[in-house]
């Protein structure tokens, strides 16, 4: 047998007869000689070892790394091929050695499990491999190292070594054991050592900016390399481990120095570099967090700085303010898109920071009087943003120079912008209130630029999550206006037959109190007789149509056009009902001089309202010649006394290009006052009162559902419910909880002060 075996090992030609004889010999030895099998096995082992020793000395005769590797790979190649052939003739031997139990079992993967094969591989592993593996590895790593340094070499050598490691395993459980414990380990170590040395050098020599490029390039390069030299089969994670190792040594080690650059890069808008930093840091655990922080800080400080720089303009001009805000938003969004690829984490950071800018109170603020039972009468300042947003919105929806200048699409775009900013506003309820006031004015004075847009806006507000009851009221307002139009036509039809001319020019608006309500803001006034006469008629007319509904007259909101004639000409004056009442005092006595006191008697207007109305007629800002004249040089409505005397300006006229006009129309209404002086303060208080109610309502709702809840959880859920209206202050929440405890809606847990329970 032996000569044939040796021949086989040496890969020398073996004749068919010799090959078959070997089968036969093995077979007979195993069958005839009981101790034959172990003997053959032992002899075989000796021969294999012998062969391997020779091979080893052949390999080791090469000094040079590369030829050593070559020789080894060649020897290994041959040996490995023989590993597939040599076991074949020893089939009988294996059966005998393994005992009879094996016979009944189906033989699976014989080649893999073969004892002879195992013997061969183990022997190789024990002798040659153990002896020279360090040299082998070193040589291979040296090659990789020189490749890293840019020298070309035959990559097959490294691959060959790796393959020998991979195949050398005879362990069926874990085939990659030898590979992993030796080759992979060495590879990882070598890589780490290489960059541990190189990376700091590079950083010192070239600075962080360049280093990031270097690191990025090297990471990619190493990944490529790893794919070539490391085992890539499915269940083997060598490449992943290597990448991790590279990230550790190339990025994590220098995390601090890299991140230190982040803030200034954001400030300088270096999107390319930021993108690079992002891709590097995203591989490092917690690497992104400081970047998010830097971004947030940048947005807040930049946003506020910008606002502060143009504070004098934007505080007075809502258009500029909103445009500034939008400009900031677009700038920051662009940064996030370009540098961070709109990564959700960065978008969240942007939102968080932008919210701070929008809700900032350092440049200007809205003071809401919060009458708390508590100690400090401190009001909590809030952002004025919602008020200005509402003003801006009004400018777009009303007939104004701005809305006329813009195309329909542009207006729509800007309205959407308003909604975008609104999303970040915390005190949305303030916006709602102001928006509604503006809408009321537009509807009553019929000054909407585009009715369709008005109604679209209502729907958009609904879409962005404004509370339904609020949006419904707005919708109801439109409905009222439409219904009133039909009503007017009918009213006029009935009265036209009676030949009443004034009836034709009357326009009634029947408005639902719940939707339009402006508190208890009704002011009594003596109407001109001509109008007074129609009040019962209108009431009767309406009663016939809708029995049981109560009508209340809101003269404060109404207005009309009167014709004013004097020596110079005839003019149409658009006036409020109050102005009308004041002017009608002169109707029968055109040239009389009337004292403040007698006007008060005639109109029955409250003092504050009369002053304001007179002021608007004596000192209307847009007029060169005023409608009324006064005997004192008044600087403000407060300067009028009971004895101040007023008379109609007989030389009143409109002046255009410094020429007197004989005819013309002028609007004296200005900004329609929807509230009296008194109720203005109430207005802001109203916001707070409504908040108090909403908080109570929401707490009860939560308690009803949860029955028992911790303080923290209650706060969270409360904010969730109320966030579309306002952000409840901690103090307000606490006080309402106290109120509810007091009213026995809920109670505190006996043992845990932070736990509340619902009381049905």
């Amino acid at each position: 047998m032996r000569p044939t075996v040796l021949k086989l090992l040496r890969q020398e030609p073996v004749t068919r007869a010799e090959w078959q004889d070997l089968f036969w010999s093995v077979h007979s030895v195993c069958l005839w000689d009981e101790k034959g099998a172990p003997k053959v096995h032992q002899r075989l082992q000796e021969d294999i070892l012998d062969f391997i020793t020779q091979a080893q000395s052949r390999v080791l005769s090469h000094e040079d790394d590369s030829s050593l590797l070559k020789a080894y790979i060649a020897e290994w190649g041959k040996f490995f091929t023989q590993c597939n052939y040599l076991p074949k003739p020893f089939g009988q031997l294996e059966m005998t050695l393994q005992g009879k139990a094996r016979n009944t079992l189906p033989k699976k993967n014989q080649a893999d499990e073969s004892i002879v094969r195992k013997l061969m591989l183990d022997s190789w592993n024990q002798s040659i491999f153990s002896n020279i593996k360090n040299r082998l590895q070193d040589s291979a790593m040296k090659l990789v190292h020189s490749e890293r340094n840019g020298e070309a070499f035959d990559s097959q050598l490294v691959i060959g070594v790796r393959e020998s490691y991979v195949n050398l395993s005879s362990d069926t459980e874990d085939k990659l054991k030898i590979y992993r414990e030796n080759f992979e380990k060495a590879y990882l170590e070598a890589t780490e050592a290489f960059y541990k040395m190189k990376a700091p050098e590079y950083l010192v020599e070239n600075g962080v900016q360049n280093y990031m490029k270097y690191a990025d390039a090297k990471l990619k390069e190493e990944e490529e390399r790893a794919k070539r030299y490391l085992e890539t089969r499915k269940d083997c994670n060598s490449v992943g481990m290597l990448t991790e190792c590279c990230v550790d040594v190339l990025v994590t080690a220098f995390k601090e120095s890299i991140l230190a650059e982040c803030a200034s890069m954001i400030t300088n808008n270096e999107t390319e570099r930021l993108r690079l930093m992002f891709s590097l840091m995203d591989r490092v655990p917690d690497g992104i967090t400081p970047m998010l922080h830097d971004l947030e800080e940048h947005i807040v400080s930049q946003g506020l700085a910008d606002m502060l720089a143009s504070a004098s303009i934007i505080t007075t001009d809502s258009e500029l303010y909103i445009e500034k805000l939008l400009d900031l938003f677009n700038r920051f969004s662009k940064l996030v898109a370009e540098a961070f690829n709109d990564d959700p984490r960065f978008l969240t950071a942007r939102d968080k920071a932008y919210k701070k800018v929008v809700n900032d109170t350092s440049i200007f603020k809205l003071e809401l009087p919060y009458k708390s039972k508590g100690v400090c009468a401190k009001t909590q300042p809030e952002s004025k943003c919602p008020e200005l947003l509402a003003n801006y919105c009004d400018m777009l929806l009303r007939k104004t120079p701005l809305s006329k200048k813009l195309t329909s699409e542009e207006v729509e775009k800007k309205l959407k912008d308003v909604l975008l900013v609104l999303k970040y506003v915390q005190n949305k309820d303030v916006f709602m209130r102001y928006h509604k006031v503006h809408l009321t004015r537009r509807l009553i004075l019929d000054t909407s630029a585009d009715n369709e847009k008005e109604e679209n806006m209502v729907e958009w507000l609904r879409e962005v999550g404004m509370p339904a009851d609020y949006v419904n009221k707005l919708a109801r307002m439109f409905q009222d206006i439409k219904v009133s139009e039909d009503l007017n036509t009918e009213f006029k039809d009935t009265h036209r037959n009676n030949n009443e001319t004034i009836a034709d020019s009357i326009n009634i608006k029947i408005l639902n109190t719940a939707a339009w309500s402006r508190g208890t803001d009704r002011v009594s006034v003596t109407l001109p007789m001509e109008l007074e006469d129609y009040i019962p008629q209108v009431e009767e007319f309406y009663r016939l149509k809708h029995n049981g509904r109560k009508l209340q007259w809101h003269h404060l909101m109404s207005n009309g056009i009167i014709t004013f004639a004097n020596d110079i000409g005839k003019f149409d004056l658009e006036v409020t009902t109050f102005q009308m009442a004041v002017l009608f005092s002169w109707n029968q006595r055109t040239h009389d001089r009337l004292s403040y006191e007698s006007l008060k008697l005639a109109t029955e207007l409250p003092d504050a309202e009369l002053r304001k109305t007179l002021w608007s007629l004596v000192a209307f800002p847009k007029l060169k010649r005023q409608v009324l004249l006064c005997d004192i040089e008044a600087r403000s409505p407060k300067d009028f006394t009971d004895n101040s005397v007023f008379w109609v300006n007989q030389t009143f006229a409109l002046v255009k290009n410094s020429k007197l006009q004989k005819r013309g129309k002028v609007n004296l209404i200005g900004r329609l006052q929807l509230s009296t002086e008194r109720s203005k303060e109430e207005d802001n208080e109203g916001i707070i009162q409504l908040r108090v109610l909403r908080v109570q309502e929401a707490i009860v709702k939560i308690m009803k559902m949860r029955k028992r809840i911790t303080n923290a959880q209650l706060q969270t859920e409360l904010v969730e419910i109320l966030k579309n209206m306002f952000l409840p202050s901690k103090k307000m929440i606490k006080e309402q909880i106290e109120w509810l405890i007091e009213q026995k809606y809920m109670r505190r847990d006996e043992d845990n002060i932070n736990m509340f329970a619902y009381l049905a």
């Binding site: 923290a712 103090k731 606490k734 007091e742 002060i753």
Partner: protein, 243 residues
């Protein structure tokens, strides 16, 4: 504070009393008749209601040798489970005396040390403390919150035996802020917890916990005072402006 009966377990008492009560069936150490007599001797006969009014109570206190605004009187009222201040109804008085097993001025006097020791025990004190709130309310007008002046004096009184270290600052704070109208029950009850938790170190106060808002205000005020090193007068001036 040193307590003369530190280890008196509250549980033993009822059983003790029961035993005594059984005993008293045969040999009473007090007489119901005497209690009635005692009550009637202080009641204003012209009064429609069957209870002791301010005057009667004052007289009773005098005979007991205590001042009406003393802690001992508060504890006595608590023992008698009195509904409201300046009033002892017949049933309260009668029930109280029976509970104390006394029928004379001397008898009541002899129970004082025992009662004072009893409220040294944490749970008993808590009961006394909580009861004090309701005791202070003016039941005729249906009060639900304690007017602040009343609360201040009751706080002073109820903590006679062991005063929390924060109490003085707390009361000063209340006195300086007359716009605080009343103390709701929850705030009253929580003050006991508050005093226990903070001791005299307000830096341990955590305003994210569900403390009543008045404590937030208090801590904020105290911190402001400390940070700005405000002298005693300055905050006083500030509040004058606030009015």
């Amino acid at each position: 504070m040193f307590s003369p009966y530190p280890k008196l377990p509250p549980i033993r008492k009822p059983s003790n009393a029961e035993a005594k009560q059984r005993l008293s069936l045969t040999m009473k150490d007090y007489s119901e008749h005497k209690i009635t007599m005692l009550f009637d001797s202080y009641r204003d006969p012209g009064d429609d209601e069957d209870c002791l009014q301010a005057e009667g109570i004052e007289k009773l206190c005098m005979h007991l040798g205590v001042r009406p605004e003393e802690f001992r009187v508060l504890v006595l009222a608590w023992k008698f489970n009195a509904e409201t201040m300046c009033r002892f109804t017949r049933s309260e008085f009668f029930g109280g005396c029976k509970k104390l097993r006394v029928d004379s001025i001397k008898g009541i006097q002899s129970r004082f040390p025992e009662m004072l020791a009893e409220v040294q025990i944490r749970d008993n004190f808590k009961d006394l403390y909580r009861w004090t709130f309701k005791f202070g309310l003016d039941s005729d007008t249906g009060q639900r919150t304690l007017p602040v002046e009343m609360a201040i004096s009751l706080w002073g009184l109820v903590f006679t035996q062991n005063e929390p270290r924060i109490l003085k600052r707390w009361l000063t704070f209340l006195e300086k802020h007359p716009n605080i109208r009343g103390i709701p029950r929850d705030t009253w009850d929580m003050f006991l917890n508050f005093a226990e938790v903070v001791g005299d170190d307000l830096s341990t106060y955590d305003d994210t916990e569900a403390w009543p808002s008045l404590f937030d205000d208090f801590v904020e005020y105290e911190n402001d005072c400390q940070n700005q090193n405000v002298t005693e007068e300055k905050p006083a001036k500030e509040y004058e402006v606030q009015i």
